[in-house]
């Protein structure tokens, strides 16, 4: 029974890694679609989210099957329950990548993001993708130090999020209300994506060390 249990557990872990890979790729492609006004790429991200949802559903069913068949206790039980939560985080990241792509599609053939914000949004997109790659590594290696580095990169995301808002609310903003609302929502999507990636890493740390990492409290609306 222990061997069967560990096989099932490792298949759940593989499912999480596959989800993390897919949503990491999705946020990268969604960012390109947004900045280049690339409709084909946007459509690909939007339809590709179904595959993440299928992985999520499948992983939930397998986790519940493990609970029913193996009836794990103590640490083993926490591993399975935590996997369910990580799967929910990753599924939500897929939704957020899809939202970015939908915005690109909605504004096509116009670009949704004004030229002078391209650099900042590109950095947010790349950072989101990198955070997810790191979260994926943390799942695979259970490396607590790597999880801590993730927190630092997330601080940079919060800083970029603040910069976007300062720019939006600057008197020099010349792109009107619609573009401001688009950019505010996009900024929020990246910030939420990063939060979920950090959350995945924190859950792994909790499993490994039994210690909850300190939750950084950031105001959602970061402007003063």
């Amino acid at each position: 029974m222990r061997e069967a249990y560990h096989e099932e557990l490792s298949s759940i872990s593989e499912g999480l890694v596959e989800m993390a890979n897919q949503v990491g790729s999705a946020i990268g492609r969604a960012t390109t679609a947004l900045l280049d006004a690339d409709l084909t790429l946007a459509e690909g991200v939007i339809s590709g989210d179904d595959s993440v949802d299928v992985l999520h559903r499948d992983l939930e069913n397998r986790a519940i099957a493990v609970l029913a068949r193996q009836q794990p206790v103590a640490t083993d039980l926490r591993v399975v329950v935590t996997s369910l939560r990580m799967s929910a985080d990753l599924e939500r990241c897929g939704d957020l990548a899809q939202h970015v792509a939908k915005l690109a599609r909605m504004r096509f053939p116009e670009p949704a993001v004004p030229r002078e914000l391209h650099g900042t949004i590109l950095e947010m997109g790349q950072l989101a993708q990198r955070l997810m790659a790191q979260a994926c590594e943390v799942i695979l290696t259970q490396d607590v130090d790597a999880a801590l580095r993730l927190e630092q990169d997330d601080d940079r995301m919060d800083e970029l999020h603040r910069m976007v808002f300062h720019h939006l609310l600057d008197d020099q903003w010349q792109h009107g209300v619609e573009a401001a609302v688009d950019v505010a929502l996009v900024g929020r999507y990246y910030e939420r994506f990063a939060d979920h990636a950090v959350s995945v890493a924190r859950r792994v740390v909790y499993l490994v060390t039994g210690q909850r990492m300190k939750q950084t409290v950031t105001d959602e609306r970061v402007t003063a």
Copy 2:
């Protein structure tokens, strides 16, 4: 053992009802704080979210303890796992109510919402509170028809959300970019709150009937 199990299960269910009550009240008070620029009320909602988080943590621990001690299978197992998910939905609703209150605090003593949108935002706030009360009733009664009514009220929320965006992007908008961004984010907070309330009800229906309710796919950004 069965009796102990049902006692523990019923205590988990009571925890969910208590969380639903607290976040329903929080979104109502946050709405008043937002529309009346009431700082004391806003501070109360912001600090009160700790209590929701404690309930959430406590409920998670009890659910895991039930899994460990009672090792439920089949339907019983799904009930416990589903409770974990409902708790996560409700915890997120608490965060969203807190975001609305934080916006009221950030703009104080100015009101964050222009006068002509007060009616729409008030309706969104009341609807959010009502949806949560209905979700709470569904948890208590497991009434599938009540869950279906919830879906209809959520359609109204989506309609209000669309109305807010149309107003924001109207050429007549005279409140500048900052107010537009505030209102766009507030609209999203209510819409997300409603989605989580509906999600709670859907999970109950799934437990009772074994059927997943059709998920209404709505674009996140509802403007054309």
